[in-house]
Amino acid sequence: MNIPEELHYTREHEWILVEDDTGTVGVTDHAQKELGDVVFVELPQRGEEIGAGEPFGSIESVKAVSEIYSPVSGQILETNSALQETPDKINSDPYGDGWIVRLRLIDRSEIKGLLSAQDYEHYLKEELAK
């Protein structure tokens, strides 16, 4: 399972890369495998403010439509518009070209409430054993 060390994770299988007060958000390798082939990504508007744990878009795969939840509170700075034409980037490169939004963090302390790579790996093992 590919779980990069430098990222923070949610129990809903999103990751966030924090650089100063900017966060880049996507879904994890596990999430893309579970979803199957992604066929459409619904993105938020730039400038929109999203609360921690609130949905800001959705991913449609051949199996289902799933909401994407924001790991932290923030304002949308940028969305990955390449996903409109090539949603499969979420499958092929979930931690790279498959990023979904960049947002400005409102409260950096929220990061502490997220899972570390080790925590997330542990959580996945528990979930898969269920």
């Binding site: 579970e34 082939d37 066929v39 449609e60 051949v62 199996k63 289902a64 439509v65 799933s66």
Partner: protein, 500 residues
């Protein structure tokens, strides 16, 4: 290619591809009145021009084309159709016969009330039966399907709170809900808050109590829920929601598990829809059309769609008032032909028959559960009613997923069950046999499922490549979604063949 293969095995061409200039599927006798062009009879703006590429075929071409396509169809009259949550039960032919009676089908919806008393009485009787079965005070037959019933119920709740001067902001929805529930809530202008299920597969009442507030308009639940599990704490759930001035909306999609045994009105439900095309045996799929009557308690009755059929001293009439109604949700009075079929079903089954339907649906589902539970992993161990949810957990170690099991089932001659729903079960296989199937058919289905579980261990390639014996082999669902071709276009003109 031999003639037999072209006729029976190969892909049927599109009607457009069969077209040849000058062919006709009709032949009319000569006119015995003066001929007139359509342009002379109608305003030019109403006359459509030629349709480019409109197919020209003979009568026999036309008949064969559609008859061949019809033989590709899988339907309940051909075999078992165990789609969980979709309730594909048999549509008795008696319903069809009655719905076609000229005295019922020939009435125009704008005909005077005094001249359509029979149709109005039929609607009134159906309303009364649905009220009695659900334990509710009032019914509107208008909504055309379950999801429209949901929207209707939620708009009624919104109208009530607006009328009280305190419109509310949120709707709580169990995470096992049908996808239409959050969609309807959003369309009705609410924000959705999800309530996770507990390990037993029912609503977590402590989380519900935490999330319930005076900003919450209602809780939407399905009972039994989409796992087929009865919400055993329903009375406590009702107490929590009503305690803060909220309503409970019940998605009545699974009412066929309760009919004649338990009444939503006795459980604290305030408003629900029924799917006549599920529980009451009217056609489902292929356009139906559906019918999703809404039943409610007296407190919400002033908000029901109008017109409603009422009984007066002089017979039956359509009541347009009251002014508090949310208005119409359907042209005329709803899908009337479905009311005829549903009432026919209710009357021909009778009180004991309707109870037996619930019993048999639950028994059939539990028979499947008992015979398959050692072969497929049960998603939840709580007792289930009319449907049962398995997962692909036992097969996953052989790299076999739910989709492969479903595709292989086609080759064993059955329509696959619902897959990957409910969303809270990984790799869900959701089976609902309904009361329609007898033991022999259930056994063949179960035997096929057991054979597939064995194949998954011994020859997984049979599943991974399935289906290969069908007209269409496994389709590329991803490409179909990413690069859909939605319109046929004629092939480019072939270059002249120089050999001739």
């Amino acid at each position: 290619m031999s003639r037999t293969t072209t006729v029976f095995n190969i892909n049927e061409e599109l009607i457009f591809e069969k077209s040849a200039s000058g062919k006709m599927a009709y032949s009319l006798p000569p006119l015995d009145v003066e001929d007139d062009t359509i342009e002379a009879l109608l305003e030019p703006s109403l006359v459509r021009g030629e349709i480019e590429g409109f197919p020209e075929v003979s009568e026999l071409d036309l008949i064969r084309h559609y008859v061949r396509l019809s033989t590709w169809n899988y339907h309940i009259d051909l075999g078992m159709y165990p789609l969980g949550s979709c309730t594909m039960k048999y549509n008795p032919k008696l319903n069809e016969k009655v719905a076609r009676l000229g005295d019922l089908s020939g009435v125009h919806p704008l005909q005077e009330e005094t001249l359509s008393q029979g149709n109005l009485e039929l609607m009134f009787q159906l309303q009364v039966f649905l009220q009695e079965l659900t334990g509710m005070d009032a019914v509107s037959l208008q909504p055309a399907a379950g999801a429209q019933g949901e929207l209707t119920g939620l708009l009624m709740i919104r109208a009530y709170h607006v009328h009280q001067g305190k419109p509310r902001k949120y709707v709580l929805i169990a995470d096992s809900a049908h996808g239409t529930n959050p969609a309807s809530a959003t369309l009705a202008g609410y924000d959705v808050i999800s309530i996770p299920s507990n390990p037993g597969g029912t609503i977590d009442t402590s989380l519900l109590a935490e999330r319930m507030s005076e900003d919450v308009a209602c809780l939407m639940l399905t009972n039994p829920n989409t796992l087929g599990i009865f919400e055993v704490e329903i009375e406590k759930v009702a107490e929590i929601v009503h305690g803060r001035g909220g309503f409970i909306y019940m998605d009545g999609a699974n009412f066929n598990a309760l009919m004649g045994y338990a009444r939503p009105g006795d459980m604290g439900i305030d408003v629900l829809h029924l799917n006549l095309h599920k529980t009451f045996s009217t056609p489902h799929g292929g356009g139906g059309p559906g019918s999703g009557p809404v039943a409610c308690r007296q407190i919400l009755a002033p908000y029901l769609p109008v017109p409603r059929v009422v009984r007066t001293g002089a017979g039956y009439s359509l009541e347009e008032s009251p002014g508090s109604s949310i208005g119409r949700v359907h042209g005329f009075y709803g899908n009337f032909g479905m009311f005829v079929r549903a009432l026919c079903y209710i009357l021909s089954c009778g009180r004991t028959g309707l109870r037996e339907i619930s019993e048999t649906a639950v028994l059939n589902s539990n028979y499947i559960r008992a015979r398959l539970k050692n072969h497929y992993a049960l998603a939840y161990h709580s007792p289930s009613l009319h449907e049962v949810v398995f997962s692909d957990k036992k097969q996953a170690s052989n790299q076999i997923r739910t989709l492969d099991i479903a595709k292989r089932l086609i080759e064993h001659g059955f329509h696959p069950p619902t897959i990957y729903f409910p969303l809270i079960v990984r790799g869900a296989l959701m089976i609902e046999p309904t009361e329609s199937e007898g033991k022999a058919e259930l056994d063949s289905f179960i035997d096929a499922m057991i054979a597939i579980a064995r194949e998954a261990r011994e020859s997984p390639e049979l599943l991974i490549n399935a289906p290969i014996t069908t007209k269409r082999t496994r389709v590329d669902e991803t490409r179909a979604a990413r690069q859909p071709i939605l319109r046929w276009s004629p092939p480019a003109e072939a270059p002249p063949d120089e050999s001739t």
